[in-house]
Structure formats: C-alpha cells, structure tokens
C-alpha cells in the first residue's frame, strides 16, 4: 500500500513540468560546476605531482562538486516537496487517502518514499557525470559509493523536513518558503558555530555531510540523518492526525 502511494506520487511529479524542469536545471548547473572543477584540477595537477600521498581525482573533483551541489539542492528541494501534502489539502484530495482503509503512517511513508524515489533519480543522474571520468582515469569507487549514500541521506533529510512543512499548510508557496528557511537555518548553524563542539553545531545538516563526502561512513553521521528523517516523518503523521481533531 505504501508503494502504491509512492508510485502514484512519483508519477504525479513527472506529470507536471516542474520535476522535468528541476532535473534539467540542476543537471545544467552541476555540469557547469563539474567542468569548472575539472579545469581547477588541471591547474593543480603540476603541483600535485611533487607531493606524496596526493588526493585523487575523486577527492578533488567529485567531492567538491557534490559539496557545492548540496547547497544548490538545498535551495531546490523545497520546490519538490512543497506540493506533496499542501496541494492535496488545497484540492481537497487528501480526503481520498484519509477515507480509504489506510493508516496515516502509511500515507506519510508513501509520500516520503515517492519523494525519495525522485531523490534517487536526481542523485543517480548527477553521479553519471563523475562516472564519465572513468573513461580517462581511475576512480575510487568506494568513495563514489560513500558520496552517493551521503547525498541520498542529505536529500532524504531535506525531503522529510519539506514534507513536514508541507503538511502544515494548504499553500504551496508558504510550504516552499518555510522549508527553504528551515534548511538554510540548519546550514547557517554550520557557519556561525564553525569551531564549536556545542549541541547546536551538532545539529548542522552539512557538518555531517562533510565526513561522508570524504569517504568516511561514520555511524554517528548516518544515524543523525536517519533520526532526522524519522523525527520529521513522525511529526508529519502527528500533524495530519491532529488536524482531524481541530
């Protein structure tokens, strides 16, 4: 049942031009960044030769492409998540799901998996760019996998936060703006508490992203993202349940 809803979500996303446009725009932007990084690599190459234990292509190009990419995606993910529940509320189609023999949890999980399906498509398409380097050089596939996983976790967390904020309103713009604000806030924490080992700094979305991008799959970082996703999904279920009482 969860999969039925997820499949439907994904289908609806691609029925509107929005999903296609977003995929296209991100691909162009990331392509540009990718080329810029390659050029950068060529500039660095003469110096790298003299060093021992030099960082490889995967570190220099791919990791930095996705580091910049995650900021771009932070701005774009709210546009994907904004409609998921807010639009159903506005068009009063949520009622179809609620009056069907399905639990709220299944509805929310279905919605989230639909969004996550889009994330997988998006990240897979972006991963094709570094893979194209394979024709000219050797790549560290372990690191690529780590980057892939870290992108999925990061965007999954974006999606869960966006889904929750979309359940709070029936206005898509408000949902988009508020999720954008929240994500930006979680990013800014990193710059303002850059040195600190405080609890607040620990909440930063991108700090945990960093070590994963470097190829270190740390249980603490993975758990951070999973807990964040679960927390926001639970909040969404609670929010939708609460609305029946109002």
């Amino acid at each position: 049942m969860i999969l039925t809803i997820a499949r439907h979500e994904l289908r609806t996303m691609f029925l509107s031009p929005l999903a296609w446009v977003i995929l296209g725009v991100i691909q162009v932007l990331m392509g540009f960044i990718f080329l810029a990084q390659i050029e950068n690599f060529f500039l660095l190459q003469p110096q790298l030769i003299h060093l021992q234990n030099t960082p490889g292509v995967t570190d220099i190009i791919v990791a930095s492409v996705f580091q910049i990419g995650s900021i771009i995606l932070l701005m774009i993910m709210p546009l994907i998540t904004m409609r998921s529940i807010a639009e159903e509320k506005r068009n009063s189609t949520l009622c179809l799901l609620v009056s069907s023999p399905i639990s709220m949890t299944e509805i929310v999980l279905g919605k989230f998996l639909g969004l996550f399906g889009f994330v997988v498509i998006l990240v897979s398409m972006l991963m094709l760019m570094p893979l194209s380097l394979y024709s000219g050089t050797t790549l560290d596939f372990g690191k690529l996998l780590s980057i892939f996983i870290s992108m999925l976790l990061l965007l999954g967390a974006f999606a869960a936060i966006g889904l929750y904020l979309s359940s709070l309103t029936d206005n898509q713009t408000i949902a988009a703006v508020s999720s954008f604000g929240t994500l930006l806030m979680l990013w800014l924490i990193d710059t303002s508490f850059a040195d600190g080992q405080t609890v607040v700094a620990y909440l930063s979305l991108l700090r945990h992203h960093q070590s994963l991008l470097e190829g270190v799959i740390n249980t603490a970082d993975v758990a951070y993202y999973l807990l964040l996703i679960i927390a926001f999904l639970v909040l969404t279920v609670r929010q939708l349940d609460r609305e029946r009482l109002l």
């Binding site: 049942m1 039925t4 609806t12 068009n91 009063s92 009056s99 069907s100 023999p101 109002l246």
Partner: protein, 315 residues
C-alpha cells in the same frame, strides 16, 4: 428482511473551538436504505459525514460501521464505506482510468480484480467514453460522476454522498439522481443535500438536522400521511369560505387572497367535488394546483420554528 443497522451513530458531538457543530446526534442507517440528510447550510451535515468517514475525529460519542468502530478499528470501518465529499477528490492531471485504478488500489481491491472493477464502475457511472481523458478537462457533471465512481469502486455496503448534485445542470442532476437510485437498490446510501425535491425523488427515509441536532426523522411515505396535503384553487367569483369548508374531504380552508384559497384535505382529493361545485355554483374556477411541496413545508416549518424558539419570538 430484518433491518440491520449498518451505521450506528450514538450521541455524537463535535466542537470547533467553542462552537458546537453537532450536538448529541444519534441515528442509524439500515441495510438497503437510502437516507436523506437534510438541513440548511451550516447545519452540520458535512461535519457528520466527515466524522462517519474518519476525516474528522468526534469530540464525543461513537460511530460504528457494520460493527467496526471508526476510532478503534478505522481500517475495517473505512473499508465498508465509499465517500464522495462535497468537492470530488479527483486528481485533475490524471486520466479517468488511471485515477480509478489508483482508487481501487487504495481501497485494497485484489490486484487481479482491479481492471474488472474499473470497467464495471465506468459502465455504471456512464464514464465509458471518457476513460482516456484527463479529469481536469471533463465537465463538472462528469467529474462528479468520477467522484461517485471512486466511492463505489470497492463495492462498499455503505455509500455516503455529500451534496452530489451541487452545481450541475438539470439534465445532469436527473442523471446523477437515477444513478443514486440504482445505487440504493444494492447498497445503503446516505445522501446529504439541501435540495428538498432531491430527497423526495430518491430517498426512503428523511432526516432533518438543524444546528447540529436531529429535529425530524421519518420514512418518506410517512410525510404524506403525517401532513395534510393541500391544493390551491383560484376562482373568479369565489363563494364564502364556509361553503368551501363544508365540501367533502376538506379539513381546513385558508384564503390566500380574494380569489385564491388553499384547501387542506386528508387522504382523498377534493378536486373532483370542487370542480363540480364550481360549475354548479358558477364560481368561475380558473386554476387548480396540487401542492406537492409537502417536504418543503415541513422543512421550513421545522427549521423556522426552531429559529423562532431560539430567538424567543412569539406569534
């Protein structure tokens, strides 16, 4: 057949902040019955239906559907119901076939039976020609039919329709009504509306609700027996009211103006006598209108009475 209660609503109350939308409402829906749920705007019809279908939680009271409590066993309870809300919950950018297939999946129709269920429901709702079209491009009447189709696709024993004919043209209204009638042959239906003739045309039983309270509940036939019926006659040279009053079958006469009179009667129509007497007495009868608005009278009487009571006006 012994009537079994498919839906049992007990002592239902619902508050929106401090406003009480439903006040200790209790009623039952029996198997094979079409129940008309009638009330002025804002009387609590939609709220009641949303509670029965699990879209809203009740503040107090209990709703049991075919033995399943909507709060304690929502999944089983909801699978017994098909619900068409006020605005049909259709995805405008899906085609009718896609949409109905999705609905069938949501309602847990077995995978092997889905295409058959879709075909069947399209047939009974007259959607055969529009299966491939996008719902957003269909007319309001067709969208409404798609809404009804999604409510009955899993073959539920109870169908709940919230104002299914709002915004339709007269021909569409007639079609939807006959569709509802045919639904009522196999299923129990709750139909909410504020259009009185709709209830008279389709329902077995009528319930009138006002300010969240049930103020009338009776089989539709009882209406005709309960109430005196009335014909309105117009005469150029009317006799004295007493003369009319003494005619056969007439209970009461009310003068509407100089020429028009309401003649109330019990079971036998006095029309024939009136015509005969008119000819004999040269009353110049030129109009005779049987009054079929008995439900409307009742409705206005009941809702109006309450208003007067609550406003404390004595007449």
């Amino acid at each position: 057949m012994e009537p079994t209660a498919l839906i049992q609503v007990e002592n239902l109350s619902r508050f929106y902040q401090n406003h009480r939308a439903i006040n200790h409402l209790s009623f039952t829906l029996n198997a094979g019955e079409v129940l008309g749920f009638l009330g002025p705007n804002g009387a609590g019809k939609s709220t009641t239906m949303q509670i029965i279908t699990g879209n809203l939680a009740p503040s107090e009271g209990q709703v049991t559907i075919n033995g399943f409590d909507i709060i304690e066993a929502p999944r089983q309870a909801k699978s017994q119901i098909g619900y068409l809300p006020e605005h049909p919950p259709v995805y405008r950018d899906a085609s009718v076939d896609e949409y109905l297939t999705y609905c069938a999946q949501l309602r847990r129709v077995a995978r092997s039976e889905i295409s058959q269920a879709v075909t069947l429901v399209k047939q009974s709702c007259g959607l055969n020609e529009v299966g491939q079209r996008l719902i957003g491009n269909l007319s309001k009447g067709f969208q409404q039919r798609v809404g009804i189709a999604q409510a009955i696709i899993h073959n539920p024993p109870v169908v709940i329709l919230d104002e299914p004919t709002v915004g339709l043209d007269p021909i569409q209204i007639r079609e939807i009504r006959s569709l509802i009638k045919s639904l009522g042959e196999e299923r129990s239906v709750i139909l909410s509306t504020h259009i009185l003739s709709e209830v008279q045309a389709t329902c077995d039983r009528v319930q009138i609700i006002r300010e969240g309270e049930l103020i009338y509940n009776a089989p539709i036939e009882a209406l005709n027996h309960d109430k005196e019926t009335c014909i309105t006659v117009a005469m150029k040279r009317p006799p004295a009211i007493e003369t009319l009053q003494q005619l056969e079958h007439i209970i009461r006469v009310e003068a509407k103006d100089d020429q028009r009179f309401h003649l109330f009667f019990d079971s036998n129509s006095p029309a024939e006598t009136v015509v005969q007497q008119s000819v004999a007495g040269d009353w110049g009868l030129f109009e005779m209108i049987p009054d079929q608005q008995s439900l409307e009278d009742l409705f206005i009487e009941l809702t109006h009475h309450h208003q007067e009571e609550s406003e404390g006006v004595d007449e």
